[in-house]
């Protein structure tokens, strides 16, 4: 075996992937050729360096239990649905706690509410209508005991939960350090599409942050409004539309939005 053949097979030799016959001929060449032997030694030292334990990234503390929790909730959803249809399951799960009659009654209340307040007054803009929808969704989330689909204070649980349920990935931040604790996430339906609702808590106040894509729309600065006693903050940034709604005071709501935008 010459040097060229040896260099070709050296890596398989090093990796123990050569058959015994060729392995022997590589070895006898290495015994005879100092150049190839040096290259072999260099490769061995490189390998030793790569096998250093410090280069292996073990998963962080607590990661396995977070994963187990995510798997368990996914398993539960899929059991209700029949194995593959997670989305259908989600819809059913949402109402599973309610007797069917109560669900119908609630629906009637919502329809009546929208009927009463939903007719656009002259001059009302699309944002007005949307703002109304956002407030209705916020009230509903508090009323129906259905604040979160994925109750978790961990952004690494909440964000992946939306995968496969939405056609976009909402930015999820935990702001507990700043006094706005992440409580979880929920799927909602607004503006004729599925949206991400992130739920935060400030003292006893609940904040719903609704996010969905607004492709092609220019960035719009923050606007602050009030509706039915709720503060309603809206902005558009990087092709995403944001609505934050809560009964929390305006100053702290602005502080919250500042943190989300940061």
């Amino acid at each position: 075996m010459n040097c060229q053949e040896t260099r070709v097979l050296l890596h398989a030799f090093l990796d123990d992937e050569l058959d015994p016959v060729r392995s022997l001929s590589v070895q006898s060449h290495l015994d005879a050729c100092p150049d190839c032997a040096r290259e072999h030694a260099a490769q061995r030292s490189l390998r030793a360096a790569l096998r250093d334990e410090a280069l292996y990234f073990r998963s962080p503390e607590g990661f396995e239990s977070r994963v187990r929790a995510a798997l368990a909730s996914q398993g539960a959803i899929e059991r209700r649905a029949g194995w593959p249809s997670a989305v259908g399951a989600l819809l059913r799960m949402r109402w599973a706690w309610l007797p069917a009659g109560a669900a119908v009654a609630l629906l009637a209340v919502i329809v009546i509410t929208i009927g009463r307040f939903g007719t656009p007054a002259p001059g009302s803009t699309a944002d007005d209508l949307l703002g109304r929808e956002v407030v209705a969704s916020h009230v509903r989330s508090l009323m129906a005991n259905h604040l979160t689909d994925v109750p978790s204070s961990d952004q690494h649980t909440v964000k992946p939960w939306f995968n496969g349920r939405l056609d976009f990935s909402p930015p999820v931040k935990d702001l507990a350090g700043e006094g706005f604790a992440l409580m979880g996430g929920r799927l909602d339906y607004l503006a004729g599409r599925s949206v991400a609702a992130l739920v935060y808590q400030r003292r006893l106040h609940v904040i719903n942050l609704m996010i969905w894509p607004a492709p092609g729309e220019p960035d719009r600065p923050l606007t602050v409004g009030t509706r039915q006693g709720y503060h309603l903050l809206h902005w558009t940034r990087d092709g995403m539309s944001y609505w934050a709604v809560s009964d929390l005071n305006e100053d702290e709501m602005k502080q919250f939005v500042g943190l989300v935008q940061r």
């Binding site: 070709v8 050296l10 890596h11 398989a12 990796d15 992937e17 040096r38 290259e39 030694a41 260099a42 490769q43 030292s45 490189l46 390998r47 030793a48 360096a49 790569l50 096998r51 250093d52 410090a54 280069l55 292996y56 990234f57 073990r58 998963s59 962080p60 990661f63 396995e64 977070r66 994963v67 187990r68 995510a70 798997l71 368990a72 996914q74 398993g75 899929e78 059991r79 194995w83 593959p84 997670a86 690494h156 649980t157 964000k159 992946p160 995968n163 496969g164």
Partner: protein, 179 residues
């Protein structure tokens, strides 16, 4: 009730054959994304995908199966978020020549050099980084790497050879820092 019990067993079987490889999954995702938070998100996403696909899994090698899904999840993410890292020029001839002029004696690795090795490995293009991580750090065989990366075994060998050449050059170009 029978179907439900079977699905519960499914989740249990999944946890038994796949979760023991969580560190392997995280290690690969961490090296591909070079970021701990992204790695956590992607591993979690990959596991949920894996759970959905698990009923179709009849193989014996849960680790290679999981790593395949983790790798695909990471590449989808890299294509969406780090496109420029995946488009690497590669001039075979020039690099082969360079590799031949390399004098192996110049490459001296000392104890405690792993920060240097780590940085050089992180700077390799993903296609070279991943084979080295799978082979040297994760200890997979050529056959397993060929499954995970979806290339023939012969290509595994030649890609490893090139990856090692590149890593050597990267390390030689970067002398040990004086401390």
């Amino acid at each position: 009730m029978g179907a439900r019990a079977e699905q519960e067993r499914g989740v249990g079987r999944f946890e038994e054959s796949v979760l023991p490889h969580l560190d392997s999954a995280y290690n690969l995702a961490r090296w591909l994304t070079r970021n701990g938070h992204d790695a956590e998100d992607l591993v979690q996403e990959a596991l949920l995908r894996a759970l959905r696909a698990f009923q179709g899994f009849r193989g014996a090698d849960g680790r290679a199966w999981l790593l395949t899904i983790v790798r695909n999840t990471c590449y989808t993410w890299l294509r969406a978020n780090r496109q420029q890292e995946l488009t690497t020029e590669f001039d075979e001839e020039v690099h082969t020549l360079e590799s031949d002029v390399l004098n192996p004696e110049r490459l001296v690795l000392r104890e405690g050099d792993n920060a240097r090795v780590r940085q050089a490995l992180e700077e390799l293009p993903a296609e070279f980084r991943e084979v080295l991580v799978l082979r040297e750090i994760e200890g997979l065989s050529y056959k397993e790497i060929s499954t995970v990366v979806d290339i023939p075994v012969g290509t595994v060998m030649s890609r490893l050879a090139r990856a090692r050449g590149r890593l050597q050059r990267g390390l030689t170009a970067r002398p040990s820092e004086e401390r």
